[in-house]
């Protein structure tokens, strides 16, 4: 069954896609394997956050996504 990885903001351009489905469960090493090397390098940076099932993770390396969860990759923000 599936976990949806969502690429937001500039990560969408780096990934070359909006989203991707991968098999559940998905943890941090699994996520780094599932995305391209360029995206993985971004994910390792402190300023990039991850949300799982609508909650931002305090420690992204503790990611544990179950079937049906959406994992959003959140690059640095710029609003206003």
């Amino acid at each position: 069954m599936a976990v949806t990885i969502l690429f937001l903001g500039p990560l969408r351009d780096i990934a070359g896609e909006d989203s991707r489905e991968v098999s559940a469960p998905l943890d941090w090493p699994g996520l780094l394997d599932a995305v391209s090397g360029d995206v993985a390098a971004q994910l390792k940076e402190e300023r990039v956050n991850i949300a799982c099932a609508g909650k931002v993770l305090a420690d992204k390396t503790l990611l544990h996504a179950e079937d049906g969860d959406e994992v959003a990759l959140l690059p640095p923000v710029s609003g206003g």
Partner: protein, 147 residues
């Protein structure tokens, strides 16, 4: 009055300011900030994207924090998403308060958080295509003032 919204279509900040004023007869002052897409500088369009599960809940939590920190009679926070053009309003923050400093500081507080701690991603279209806008160092320094 509390009005916290994401807007997919163009809006008129002045009508929201009028409503806030009417709804806050006991407040002695209203402060506001309107952010607009710059005219000139080669920007043809600006696009703001968001993440539904986080962006509006984050703005609501920011409004809670502002209302807890300052004595307010009303708070409006409207933020555009989607594609905008030069001159279009992007954001309106307005605060009504019994005393001016609470109103002015609440608007400053909300804007600093919307700039660099809310879930928005901004890109600009110039003659050579789209460019993502990174937060500036100054935006982070502005935010740190409220820690």
């Amino acid at each position: 009055m509390r009005d916290i919204r994401l807007l997919a279509d163009p809006f008129d900040p002045s009508s929201s300011l009028e409503k806030l004023s009417e709804a806050s007869p006991d407040s002695g002052g209203i402060a506001s900030f309107i952010g607009k897409v710059r005219c000139g500088g080669g920007v043809e369009a600006l696009e703001l994207s968001h993440y539904e599960p986080l962006t509006l809940p984050g703005m609501d939590a920011l409004a809670d924090a502002a209302q807890e920190r300052f004595e307010l009679g009303g708070l409006v926070m409207l933020h555009r998403i989607g594609t905008m053009h030069p001159g279009d309003p992007i954001v309106l923050v307005a605060a009504a308060a019994p005393h001016r400093r609470d109103a002015i500081e609440a608007v400053d507080f909300c804007m600093d958080h919307l700039k660099s701690a809310a879930w928005f991603w901004k890109r600009e279209k110039r003659a050579d295509g789209w460019h993502w806008i990174e937060p500036r160092e100054a935006d982070h320094a502005d935010l740190a003032r409220w820690a």
